[in-house]
Symmetry: C2
Subunit: 614 residues, 2 copies
C-alpha cells in the first residue's frame, strides 16, 4: 500500500479516490486477517475517513475518533500504511488512536464516549486563543453505540451555539453486540424509512437553510419550521440540543460524504452529520456476518475461555434459581452471556455502553429482591467505581460483579488492560474480592456468591482467555489458599494469585533446577483475606524470602497491604519480603508472553530476581 | 410536630393537608435554621412529598429521592419528625435517604443521577417476581439539575414501554448553583411560556390521551399529533425516549400535584411528571435568595476557607496567564469559583453535574493548548476516575485537578466524605499528588502546578473549611517534607499529611506532658514521594516507633505503600511501624471532631495508642 501525503490525497480526482477506497478495503482485509483486529467497522468507515482527510486540513484541524477501534483507515492514510503489518504487535502501532504515535492522532481513545467532550475542549481552547480565527475545525467521529453512553450526552448538553464543532455520527446500527435502548430505535427509524431519506435529499437545500441555532431559534415561524423539519428528519433530539443536523446520508458514497463534510465545514456553530454506513462494506463475509468480523483474532482458536465458563455456570444457576439475572454493558458475546440471553431473555439486560447505569441498576434490582450478576470488563468497570461505592458497597446490597479481562488484555493495550481493579475494589468496605485462577475456581466462587446472596457484593475477577494447564495440574483448586512445593526444603515462599500463578510455578521449576526449592501459595480470596487458611497451609514454616507476584498495579494492590500486615506479625513467615507487580507506568500492547516479560512478571525474570535476592 | 401514620396522611381532607403543608414549612425553617442542612429545596418540595405519600402506598410502593438532599419532608412524614432536631448530628438521622434508617427510604442517595437507574431496577425486579401484579409502583424524584448528569440519560435510554416507572421532575430551575446546558434552557422555555402552561391545562385531557408509547407510536396520524404536541409542550425530548409526559404543573399546588400523581399512577408504562416548584417556597428570605438557603450551616461563620483561597489564587494566576481556565461540575460556589466566574466569564466552565465530561473536557482543553484547572469535590471525583486514567494520565496531559472536601465532610456523611481519593490517584502513572495542609501550601502548590504546566496532571487535595492554626503556627510550610519536634530526645516519629497533622501535633503535646517526646513530620507531596526530602529532615535519627496518621482509607492509602518501602530499606528509620487510618468501614455523619474521634484519628486516641505501643 502506497503512502500518501495529505496533499496527494486532496489532489486525487473522485474516481481516483474511489479506487483508493477499494485498495484500502483490500489492504485492510489482507492485513487484519493476518494481524487480527477490528475489521468490519473499519471497512464501513473507509469513505468517511478518506473524506475527512480530503475535506479538512489535518493535523491543524483535529479529528477525534471515539473509542478508536475504527481508526485503521485514518492510520493507513496518515503515514502508517507500511507500519500496518505490525498492527497491535509489541512495539508496533496501536489498534487505537495514540497521541504519541502520530500528530494526526489528536486524542487517544479506547473507552467509549470521550470524543465529544475532548473535541469540545479543543474547540474552546482554540476559541480562547484565536477568537477571530474560524479557519480551524474540530471533528468528533462517533459510532451509534457511543450514543448509549451518558458522557456523550453530558458533552452534548454542554455544547453552545457558538461552539465550532462537527460531530460525525457513523451509524452502522451495530455497536459491539447490538445497540440498545430508545435512541437506537429512534435512529433505526430514521434509517429504515427510505421515504425520509429521499425527502431529505430533495428538500435538503430548502429545509437545511432554516436557521435553527442561536437567535434564529426564537424568530417568528421557526417553531413551525422546526416541527416541519421534525416530521421530515425526526432529528429533533439533536436539534433540541441546539445542534444543526445534516443527514442521514450514505456514508459509503464518497461524493455524498464529501458534499456533507464540506457543508459541515462551512457551517458556524455545532453540527452533527449523520452517515449511515455498512459494517463490513465491500467484503462479502464481513457484510454477511459483521459480528464475527467485528474483532478478528490472529491467534488460533483457544480452548474454552473463562468468559464461556462464566456464562455456562450462570445459565446453570439461573435455571435453578428464578431470581438470577444478568447484566452486560454492550459486551454480551465478550462476557460469555449469549447463551444466557437466548435461554433467559427476560432476565438478561444489555444496558448499552452504560457501565454507570448498569451498576446502579444492579443495586436497584438487588434492593428489589432479585440477584443481579453484572459482567463487565475490568477496564470498563473503572467507569462505575463510584456506583459500586455509592449504590452497592455503602448500602450493603448483594450483587455479583464479574470482572472479565482482569490483568493484561494483550494486543488491545493500555486502555484495555485490567490492572487497577484490585486496588479499586479492596478499599471498598464490605465488598468481597475473589481472583479465580482456574475455570473450576470461577465456577465454584460464582456458585457460592449466588447461593449466599445476602448483604455483600462479591467481585469475581478473571482473565481473558483460558485457564493455564500448569495451575490446573498442580492445584486442586478447592480452597481460599493453596500450597504447592517444588521440594521438601523450600527456602522461598512465592505468594501469588490469579493467572500469573503459572509463572510462579514455572519460576519454581527453574529455581529447583539450580537447587533452590520453593513453596508456591496461590490465593483465591483477596478480601477479606483468609489469614487462617494461610496459617494452615504454611504450618510453622519460616522462609528466607517471601516473594509476592501480582498481575496488577503495585500501588494499592493486594500485596502492598498484605505484606505490611504479614511483616508486622509477631511470628514472621519470612525474613524478607519482596513484591513484584506492575510498576508505576502504563503497559503497552502485545502478546501476553511479551507483556509479562515487559513487566518482569514472567518465570525467567521471577526466577532470576529470586536467585539474586537470596 | 405531630407524627403521622400513612393512614392518617391519606385520611386528611385537602384543606387539612394544605394546613399540614404550612405546618411542615414552619417546622422545616425552625429545625433547619438550628441544625443546618438543605432548606430551600425542601421548602419547595413539601406538596410533592406529601402528595406522594397520600397517593401511593409506601413502603410497598417505592419512592426514590435522587441525590436525596430534598428528602426532609419525606422523613418528617415517615415517622422521623421527632428525630429531626438531631438531623445530621453524630448518631442522629442523616440528611440523605438511608435504607438502614427507615423502611420508607427505599434507596440511599447523596450523589446525583442514580434514582432512575435504581428505580428501573426495582421495577424490573418486581415485574420478574410478580409479572401479573401491577399494583405496586416505583417513583424516582429528580431535580432538574440531575438532568445534566449522563447516568440519568443512560437510564432513560434503557427504559422500555413495558416498564412501570414514574419519574417526577421537580423543576425549580436551580440545581446547586444554576442549571447549565441546552436542556436547562429547554426546560426554562417550558416554564416561562405561560401560554404553553395554560394551553396545557386546557388541552390536557384531549392531548394527553393520544397514545404515544409502544405500538401507538407507529399508527396513522401519530406523527402529526406528536408534532402538535411538541408545539404545545415542547416535550419531545422525553417522548422521543418513549416516556409518557405529564405537565408542566404547579408543584406547590397540592390539588394539582395529587391530580397528576393519580393520573401517573393509573398509567401503564413509563411516565414523567413535570412539576414546577419554587425553591424556598413559603419562607420569604429563602424565596428571595434560594442560593443562600440551599444549604444552611448551623455553625458560626468560619475564617477564610481552602475553597476561597483556591479561588482567589486561581484568579491571580488567571490574570497573569491568559491560558488558565477553570472547570466546575455544578459547584461554582462550593469550590470557591464565583469570583473567577465574574472576572473571567469566558474562561469559566460550569459543566453541570457531569464530572465524567468535565474531566475529559479538561483533557481536550489541555491537548488544545490551554491550562485547565478542574475543581471538584473529592467524593464526586470518584465518578471521573476512569476519565482521569484514560484521558489525562494515560496521555500525559497537563491539568490541575483540585479535589475539595478531601477527608471528612462532616455532617453530610459517608456519601460525601473524601476518603478514597488518595488511594485512587496514587496508582495512576504520571499523576502528581499533593495534600496541602495550610492555605499557604495550597496557594504555593497551585501556583507551581500552573507554572510548570507541562506533561503531568497534578492533583491537589485539601479539606473542607479552613486551615488549622496549630499547623500554621508550627510549620513554615515551605517544603515537600517538614519536621517539628516536641523535644530533643524524640523516640517517636509521627508521619502524617494534610489537615490531620493538627491531631498529630496535639498528640505530641499530650505525650510530651507524660515525658514522651515526638518528632512530627508533615508530608506535602504524596506522589512522587520525595524520599530525599524525608532523609534530609530526618538526618540520621532512628526512632523506636514510626507512627503514621492518615485521614483516608487504609487500604491502598498513602502509608501502606510508604511504610512498606521505608521498612524494606537498608537503614530503617524506626524499629517499628504502625499506621492509623480509616479502617475498612464507612464513616457516619457528624462534626469533624466527632468523626476523628469515631475513627480514632484524634489526638487523644493517637497519644493513647502511641503510649500503648511504646
Amino acid at each position: 500500500m502506497k503512502t500518501y501525503s495529505q496533499e496527494e490525497l486532496k489532489a486525487l480526482t473522485t474516481p481516483e479516490a474511489k479506487t483508493l477506497c477499494e485498495d484500502i478495503r483490500r489492504y485492510l482485509v489482507d492485513q487484519v486477517m493476518s494481524t487480527g483486529g477490528h475489521l468490519a467497522s473499519n471497512l464501513g468507515i473507509v469513505e468517511v475517513s478518506l473524506g475527512l482527510l480530503r475535506v479538512f486540513n489535518l493535523p491543524d484541524d483535529h479529528v477525534l475518533y471515539d473509542t478508536g477501534h475504527q481508526s485503521y483507515v485514518h492510520k493507513i492514510l496518515t503515514g502508517r500504511a507500511q507500519a500496518f503489518s505490525a498492527l497491535r504487535t509489541y512495539g508496533g502501532i496501536s489498534g487505537f488512536p495514540k497521541r504519541s504515535e502520530s500528530e494526526f492522532d489528536s486524542f487517544g481513545a479506547g473507552h467509549s464516549g470521550t470524543a465529544v467532550s475532548a473535541a469540545l475542549g479543543f474547540s474552546r481552547a482554540r476559541a480562547l486563543q484565536n477568537p477571530k480565527d474560524h479557519s480551524q475545525h474540530t471533528v468528533a467521529v462517533l459510532g451509534d453505540g457511543a450514543l448509549t453512553c451518558g458522557m456523550v450526552y453530558e458533552a452534548l448538553n454542554n455544547i453552545r451555539p457558538s461552539d465550532n464543532l462537527i460531530i460525525i455520527l457513523n451509524d452502522n446500527d451495530m455497536s459491539i453486540s447490538k445497540s440498545v435502548g430508545r435512541l437506537s430505535r429512534y435512529l433505526s427509524k430514521v434509517r429504515k424509512s427510505k421515504r425520509y431519506l429521499s425527502m431529505k435529499v430533495k428538500s435538503h437545500h430548502v429545509l437545511d437553510r432554516i436557521p435553527l441555532v442561536g437567535a434564529g431559534i426564537e424568530r417568528g415561524l421557526s417553531r413551525m419550521k422546526r416541527s416541519l423539519k421534525s416530521i421530515v428528519y425526526r432529528s429533533n433530539l439533536f436539534e433540541q440540543l441546539g445542534i444543526y443536523y445534516l443527514g442521514p446520508a450514505n456514508g459509503n458514497n464518497l461524493e455524498e460524504v464529501e458534499r456533507l463534510l464540506i457543508e459541515a465545514r462551512r457551517h458556524r456553530g455545532p453540527v452533527l452529520v449523520h452517515f449511515i454506513t455498512k459494517k463490513g462494506c465491500g467484503y462479502a463475509p464481513a457484510e454477511e456476518d459483521p459480528g464475527r468480523y467485528h474483532s478478528v483474532s490472529a491467534s488460533a482458536g483457544e480452548c474454552v475461555t473463562f468468559s464461556e465458563k462464566f456464562g455456562e455456570t450462570l445459565c446453570e444457576l439461573a435455571s435453578a434459581d428464578d431470581k438470577v439475572v444478568a447484566i452486560t454493558a454492550a459486551m454480551e458475546s465478550g462476557t460469555g452471556l449469549s447463551a444466557f440471553h437466548s435461554r433467559f431473555p427476560k432476565r438478561f439486560y444489555d444496558v448499552g455502553i452504560s457501565e454507570e447505569h448498569g451498576m446502579t441498576f444492579a443495586a436497584g434490582l438487588s434492593a428489589g429482591g432479585v440477584k443481579p450478576v453484572f459482567a463487565v470488563y475490568s477496564t470498563f468497570f473503572q467507569r462505575a467505581y463510584d456506583q459500586l461505592f455509592h449504590d452497592l458497597s455503602l448500602q450493603n446490597l448483594g450483587a455479583v460483579v464479574a470482572l472479565d479481562r482482569a490483568g493484561f488484555a494483550d494486543t488491545d493495550g493500555p486502555t484495555h488492560h485490567g490492572l487497577f481493579d484490585v486496588s479499586l475494589t479492596l478499599g471498598l468496605p464490605g465488598v468481597e474480592v475473589y481472583s479465580p485462577a482456574t475455570h473450576r475456581e470461577l465456577c465454584r466462587t460464582l456458585r457460592a456468591a449466588v447461593k449466599d446472596f445476602d448483604t455483600a457484593t462479591t467481585v469475581l475477577r478473571y482473565p481473558k482467555g483460558s485457564e493455564k494447564a500448569e495451575i490446573v495440574r498442580r492445584f486442586p483448586c478447592n480452597g481460599n489458599v493453596e500450597r504447592w512445593d517444588s521440594g521438601q526444603n523450600a527456602r522461598v515462599l512465592i505468594l501469588t494469585y490469579g493467572r500469573i500463578t503459572e509463572q510462579a510455578l514455572l519460576a519454581a521449576d527453574r529455581l529447583k533446577a539450580v537447587g533452590v526449592e520453593c513453596t508456591v501459595v496461590k490465593i483465591l480470596k483477596l478480601k477479606p483475606f483468609d489469614r487462617e487458611a494461610l496459617a494452615h497451609v504454611l504450618r510453622d514454616d519460616v522462609f528466607d524470602l517471601c516473594y509476592c507476584l501480582e498481575e496488577g498495579i503495585l500501588s494499592g494492590g493486594f500485596f502492598e497491604g498484605l505484606v505490611l500486615r504479614l511483616s508486622a506479625e509477631e511470628r514472621l513467615i519470612a525474613n524478607r519480603f519482596s513484591i513484584r507487580a506492575v510498576e508505576d507506568s502504563f503497559v503497552p500492547h502485545g502478546k501476553y508472553a511479551e507483556l509479562i516479560s515487559h513487566t518482569k512478571l514472567d518465570a525467567t525474570s521471577v526466577s532470576r530476581e529470586i536467585a539474586s535476592l537470596l
